[in-house]
Amino acid sequence: MPEEEMRAPKIGVPVVSYVISLLASIFIVKTYHPATAIAVLIFAVPVAALIWMVVQARRAKRFQGDAACGNRAYQRRVVALALVYVALLMLAVWLNKSYALTGVPAVIVALLPALPLVGMIVAMARLIIDTQDEYQRMLHVRQMLIATGFTLAVCSVWGFLEEFGLVAHVPAYWTFVLWCGGLGIGTVYNESRS
């Protein structure tokens, strides 16, 4: 293919495939409680999508070259924070179950899993600051704006449905998960424009 026609490898479809297949797998396993072997097969689908996503992301990084430095630092920070989040969540759940915490200790334990999530938001801000390439920075900003709009829209609609007793209450921390899903929509939009 002539160089002029080269485009960055597409990552939107793998991202959406991963998110949808993961949510669908969780829903199926939680609803129908299949045998372990079947459940493993079901979860093999999102794992395959995740591998596809990683491969495409690596190809995209090669395409971007040195300008992807901000991305690499961001990915390192997010992976580290995700591991810390899992560890602190398990610790907080264990402490909550093992001890009848009240007052300040209960507040501190409850806040433990939230701290790495706040760290992820700071990491996203650093991504914008650290990205030297203005086109890449514009893509990040547009992706986050789409995610923010998507989250505000869903939360507004859900809030009124909940207020009128039409849907169940959802804990506020799901807003962050929703926003991350919105990033996937932002990725697809960016790719549709490229």
Partner: protein, 69 residues
């Protein structure tokens, strides 16, 4: 915004990667600017103009002066 970046680059036998390295941007950025999908900031436009030894308006077409379709 239409521009002559691809022609200028071809005249010098530079690849998109070559130009990207000279401008210190990503190859993706060069591609987006060449195809008119992204309009560079004024500092980057000056950098491009300096690299080719031309004025900005000799590389980028003033949208106000483009013939209306």
């Amino acid at each position: 915004m239409n521009n002559r970046l691809r022609v200028l680059r071809a005249e010098r036998a530079w690849s998109q990667q070559d130009l990207a390295e000279r401008l210190e941007v990503s190859r993706q950025s060069v591609n987006a600017i060449e195809t008119g999908r992204y309009d560079p900031s004024l500092p980057l436009a000056f950098k491009i103009a300096d690299l080719f030894g031309l004025a900005i308006e000799e590389i980028f077409t003033n949208p106000a002066k483009e013939p209306k379709q």
